[in-house]
């Protein structure tokens, strides 16, 4: 328990010293992806293997400085999820990919005892071996701020966070700055909300600070629900204290003494890491009453969402915390005036809060130097889809789409052609080849008819059907609509019906006009952001890929051959020898014929599974 600032400072110094005694470190990525790949087993195996060697190892960082040792720790997400489970060796900075528990003994023996690099576990591309993490092209163009600690420190230890300078921005704000100074600094930095809207954080804080109310709330929005987005999850899992620190600074700045983190219940690891972090912070007296004898009280509670996407919307989120139905309400009044429990509320997203300690620590000027004037700083993106390097990245705002996809993402998987990228999840739009030079920042994307959203990038190659993509996202929005306003509830349902018709070859050409008419009505009249942007994927795919829609409708053909219902499998009679192999394999008995005569497929029965195509020795079965 730190009684005052002095106490806190001394403790931090000892932790820093302790950490310095760990002359070698093994960091096992313990993000959700790598954990699923067996990271915990690897971690345990490493400790076990180490026991054999009589090399002292520290699993937890203690206050008492110990002898030189090897730190073995579970870190946050390294980002290179495609190659997981990942293990990083320090001080060399080696990164081992696709590690298995069987490799652990070798890692300890070779890399820790003998200090030699294991080539077998290294990342290789086009014949080049990349021993260190920093050299790997995936990491080279990244600038990691919010994700700075992810992959570098133990995600479950406040001591490590303190050892590397954690909570110092908070104490700076608490003791060395006035409320006005803090708000001013954030305002000057021009930090914009990372949740998608891009509203200036400083302005929001100023408004809450100016509210005349004895009770104010700081709420962190961790209800990241876009398909293919996991930036906030990784931050909460990998650097939970950073999020808490950002919220605490907001508490100091706005005069609030209570915070809530709203996390999806589908993020159990994030919830448990945050719980641990809050528990530790309370234990140390960094949360609670009269923090470090400053007179400032602040407490943070976790509220688990119940699986509604719409609860990521501000007023639905606060309603959900209050125990009400998660449904957006009309604005005004805005959340800054009447937010949680009807009190003035700062509502920011996880990544936004994670940026705050940096700005307070290093200053607004330093922060503003990163990225373009109007959208400074960095942005985390989750790369998914048909891309070589799926994973979590962070780049300065204004990095072009091309750089992200080709330099960092390594281009398209399997060498296919790039077709489009869906940015901003179900509320975003798709960007095409022509827009590869587009800088990724709030304003440029808005102009291009897309939005940064929370930062999900779903990359699609030539084999992706854009109509199906639009249908997929519409299906998502339709399922997640809260049902309150008519345009969103009924309109998205009808749009989905039409899209369902088109992908199954039942569409008519008038459907396109109807889709656009519905889209126009929904965008203009829906109550909340979810509704207003619900039609964006459809509108942008019609705009960019109208021909694909038309092919589905007029030619009953899916140009990328993905729409199941438009597939037609037939047997070329001149090539068929009548061996009957296909008819024996067909799971639904759709193929029949006389031996040694061409067989026939009954299109009504055929489920287009393609099993026959693969089985035919004469390549007589074809897809049209």
């Amino acid at each position: 328990m730190f009684l005052n600032r002095e106490d806190f400072k001394n403790a931090c110094t000892t932790y820093t010293d302790s950490l310095a005694m760990q002359i070698k470190k093994i960091l096992v990525c313990a993000g959700t992806g790598c954990v699923a790949g067996g990271a915990i087993e690897i971690y345990e195996q490493l400790i076990k293997s180490n026991e054999k060697y009589d090399v002292p190892c520290t699993v937890t960082l203690e206050k008492e400085p110990h002898d030189k040792s090897i730190g073995i720790k579970k870190s946050g997400c390294h980002g290179f999820c495609e190659m997981g489970p990942l293990v990083r060796i320090e001080p060399q900075g080696w990164l081992y990919i696709k590690v298995k528990p069987e490799d652990c003994a070798e890692i300890i023996e070779q890399s820790i005892i003998n200090e030699t690099f294991i080539e077998r576990l290294a990342y290789k591309k086009e014949g080049v071996i990349y021993p260190t993490q920093e050299e790997i092209p995936f990491y080279k163009k990244q600038t990691r701020l919010a994700l700075e600690h992810c992959g570098h420190i133990d995600a479950t230890s406040i001591n490590e966070y303190l050892a590397i300078g954690g909570y110092q921005a908070f104490t700076k704000a608490l003791f060395d700055m006035s409320q006005e100074d803090v708000v001013e600094e954030i305002d000057l930095s021009n930090l914009r909300g990372r949740g998608g809207g891009g509203y200036p954080t400083g302005r929001k804080w100023k408004q809450v600070k100016g509210q005349n109310s004895s009770i104010k709330y700081i709420v962190c929005n961790g209800d990241e629900g876009d398909p293919g987005a996991f930036m906030d999850r990784s931050i909460m899992e990998g650097d939970p204290h950073r999020v808490l620190e950002g919220m605490m600074i907001a508490g100091v700045a706005c005069g609030s003494s209570e915070g809530y983190i709203y996390v999806r219940a589908e993020y159990p690891l994030a919830v448990s890491r945050l719980e641990t972090a809050i528990g530790e912070a309370k234990e140390r007296g960094l949360l609670g009453r009269n923090i470090l004898s400053s007179g400032f009280d602040f407490d943070i509670k976790i509220c688990k969402g119940a699986g509604a996407f719409v609860c990521g919307e501000g007023s639905a989120l606060t309603a959900s915390i209050e125990g009400k139905r998660g449904m957006p309400r009309v604005k005004p009044p805005r959340t800054v005036e009447h937010g949680l429990f009807d009190k003035p509320t700062v509502l920011n997203n996880v990544e936004t809060f994670a940026n705050v300690p940096f700005i307070i620590h290093k200053g607004a000027k330093w922060y503003k130097a990163i990225g373009p004037e109007n959208s400074p700083g960095t942005k985390a993106f989750a790369l998914t889809g048909n891309i070589e390097n799926t994973g979590l990245i962070e780049v300065p705002m204004g990095t072009t789409l091309g750089e992200v996809i080709f330099d960092i993402g390594g281009g398209m998987r399997g060498g296919h052609d790039f077709k489009a990228v869906q940015i901003g999840g179900p509320s975003g739009g798709c960007l095409t080849k022509d827009q590869l030079d587009l800088p990724l920042d709030f304003d440029s994307l808005k102009k291009a008819g897309a939005m940064i959203g929370s930062g999900g990038l779903v990359v699609m190659d030539e084999h992706t059907c854009m109509v199906e993509v639009a249908r997929f996202f519409m299906n998502f929005t339709q399922n997640e609509s809260c049902g309150k306003c008519i345009p969103c509830r009924e309109g998205t349902k009808r749009m989905l019906e039409i899209l369902d018709r088109i992908v199954s070859g039942q569409g008519v050409i008038e459907d396109l006009d109807m889709l656009l008419e519905l889209a126009d009505t929904i965008s203009a009249t829906a109550l909340c952001g979810l509704g207003k942007t619900a039609a964006l994927p459809v509108v942008s795919t019609i705009r960019n890929f109208r021909k694909e829609y038309e092919a589905h409708i007029t030619e009953n053909r899916c140009p990328s051959r993905t729409c199941q219902k438009l597939k037609r499998i037939y047997i070329a009679s001149e090539a068929c020898r009548g061996c009957s192999k296909c008819s024996r394999l067909c799971p639904v008995g759709a193929i029949s014929g006389k031996i040694k005569e061409p067989f026939l497929i009954d299109p009504v029965k055929c489920i287009k599974c393609g099993a026959c195509i693969e089985s035919c020795a004469f390549k007589a079965i074809k897809e049209a």
């Binding site: 509604a308 719409v310 139905r325 449904m327 309400r329 009309v330 604005k331 005004p332 339709q478 399922n479 997640e480 609509s481 809260c482 049902g483 309150k484 306003c485 008519i486 345009p487 509830r489 009924e490 309109g491 998205t492 349902k493 009808r494 019906e497 109807m514 008419e517 519905l518 126009d520 009505t521 203009a524 009249t525 829906a526 109550l527």
Partner: protein, 564 residues
């Protein structure tokens, strides 16, 4: 202060403290369409029909946009028309479109707006699943297939009535208004006030219609059908039948009922006169002993039900007097005890909860209810129309004897504060006409949801509260329980404004309720008997039929274990 203006369709309109631009627009003579906006409920903003366009082409919902000086908006642009039509088409596509057989036919907001905006075709198929009617409640019938999810009923039930029997369930296009666990309404905390049906723009919640069964009784030669008419009916029925809102058409109602085939017609106000005497006596006794104060009135069945469900400890404070309908019905049944024919008592009420009250075990003798049928004002209109009567051409008639005399005190029972005023008249020693006028100005009159009055009764100051709307009642009870407020007499009416605004009445607005109240006060003024005790039939019955039977016929014990 300078007057502030905003510009609506190129026309300057003064802003005068309106909450939102919708109110300003309507003030300017533009009936902007809405489904989900009621000034007495919170702003919900779901129907999006009230969208307007500002000078920059931004679309905003008028109901949730505060007015600002200099703001310029347009309410009728091609874009807005297109959006409104699309919204209507979307609503209609999932809506049961059997308009001709719908209870709400001709009064449905969706029907009206579809007509107003010329929706001639619906381009989407109705894909909604078949849903069953919820006919479990004796008061209202719910039909999910006609629900447009405007949420008006939900907010009414929660915000104004504090009942919370219904709320939204599920998400997106699966969303519906539901009771908890989708139980039948009868198994919930619903009190039957029916205010949800008042705000329902479509036929999704309607008052239960019992007229078919009644027609059968009317045509049965071996049955004598006796009817009583509640005070509020006479001022609520006229508007739909060719008179002005609030006009007292009692004589015509009496005549119409006879033409329809009712054998005897009476006025529930007579029952109310008995209630006044009994309740005043009960109150005087309690004032002497200071037991079970405050005394809560018992006329309103929805309130009694609400207390049973939420404040059972308060039941001992509720007056043991039967409601006027039940008092008169008990007397009528007693009077006809020896009748050769089967006697059926019908009550025409402004109220849906009375249907439930009539079915309570407390109000049955050998399993036969005192009131066999309760029909609402709306159902009476159906009867009159179905009987092909031209209401405006009917000559007014008087009610039957021997229970045909009423006092003005009995008539004002239909408006909030009326019961209290009648009881005060009874309790007051000063029987002058000046005293009558003084009582009217003690604070008992007016359409406010909460009123307070203080009167002097035998040298003791009596503190009175009058509430209408169950949320107001609940707030009052809580402040009494907390010790913040102290009263001796509390009048509770569940429906805002009292029975004149009952859910059985044709739907009206605030002005309409005011006019109906004025109609009742006017009837009181024109009545030559002002006080209940001056009603000659009262004395006659106390000396005759009621001798030794007052308790059996005029009182009830709600403290018994609930069996309803």
């Amino acid at each position: 202060m300078n007057t502030e203006f905003m510009v609506i369709d190129n026309m300057p309109v003064e802003i005068n403290g309106e909450r939102n631009i919708l109110d300003v627009i309507r003030k300017a003579g533009i009936d902007l369409p809405t489904f989900c906006y009621y000034s007495e409920l919170s702003v919900y903003g779901a129907c999006r029909m009230c969208v307007v366009e500002d000078q920059w082409g931004t679309i905003q919902a008028a109901c949730s946009t505060p007015p600002k000086a200099g703001m310029a908006i347009r309410t009728n642009t091609p874009r807005l028309r297109k959006y409104r039509k699309m919204i209507l088409e979307l609503l209609l596509s999932n809506h049961c479109r059997d308009c001709t057989t719908c209870e709400k036919n001709g009064k449905c907001k969706l029907q009206e707006l579809a007509q107003r905006f010329g929706i001639k075709q619906v381009r989407f198929h109705n894909t909604s699943e078949d849903s069953e009617l919820d006919t479990s409640s004796l008061c209202i019938v719910r039909d999910k297939s006609k629900c447009i999810l405007c949420g008006d009923c939900v907010r009414m039930c929660n915000e104004v009535q504090n009942v919370g029997a219904i709320d939204f369930a599920f998400r997106g296009s699966k969303m519906c208004v539901s009771t908890a666990f989708d139980e039948p309404l009868a198994n919930t905390k619903c009190v039957g006030c029916g205010q949800c049906s008042v705000v329902c723009p479509t036929g999704a919640i309607v008052v239960r219609n019992d007229t078919a069964k009644l027609w059968k009784e009317l045509s049965d030669k071996n049955t004598k059908v006796i009817v009583q008419i509640a005070p509020a009916v006479r001022v609520g029925i006229g508007k739909e039948l060719g008179f002005s809102e609030g006009q007292n058409v009692m004589g015509r109602v009496v005549a119409a009922l006879r033409r329809i085939g009712f054998d005897e017609v009476f006025d529930t106000s007579t029952g109310a006169d008995f209630t006044v005497l009994e309740e005043a006596e009960e109150f005087s006794k309690r004032l002497l002993t200071e037991d079970n104060l405050p005394l809560f009135t018992s006329c309103c069945p929805a309130w009694v039900r609400y207390a049973e469900l939420n404040y059972p400890q308060l039941l001992k404070n509720i007056s043991t007097c039967r409601s006027p309908m039940q008092m008169l019905a008990s007397i009528l049944k007693e009077h006809h005890r020896e009748d050769e024919k089967r006697v059926v008592v019908v009550a025409v009420m402004p109220c849906t909860a009375k249907k439930q009250e009539a079915a309570r075990d407390e109000f049955k003798e050998d399993g036969v209810p005192y009131v066999d049928y309760v029909i609402t004002t709306q159902e009476l209109i159906h009867l009159i129309k179905e009987a092909n009567l031209i209401f405006t051409e009917i000559e007014p008639e008087a009610v039957d004897m021997p229970f045909g005399t009423t006092s003005g005190s009995g008539v004002i029972f239909g408006v909030t504060g009326g019961v209290t005023e009648a009881v005060i008249r009874r309790l007051s020693d000063d029987k002058s006409s000046f005293a009558l006028r003084a009582i009217a100005f003690t604070g008992v009159r007016g359409m406010q949801g909460v009123k307070e009055a203080r009167i002097d009764c035998n040298g003791r100051e009596v503190k009175i509260a009058i509430v209408s709307g169950l949320k107001n009642a609940d707030d009052l009870i809580r402040s009494i329980q907390k010790g913040e407020k102290q009263y001796d007499f509390v009048e509770v009416m569940s429906c805002p404004g009292g029975c004149i605004g009952g859910a059985g009445q044709p739907v009206t607005n605030r002005d309409g309720k005011y006019n109906r109240g004025a109609g009742l006060y006017n009837a009181d003024r024109m009545s030559n008997i002002k006080r209940s005790e001056e009603n000659p039939i009262i004395k006659e019955l106390y000396d005759g039929m009621l001798k030794g039977k007052v308790h059996k016929l005029l009182h009830v014990n709600y403290l018994k274990p609930d069996r309803s």
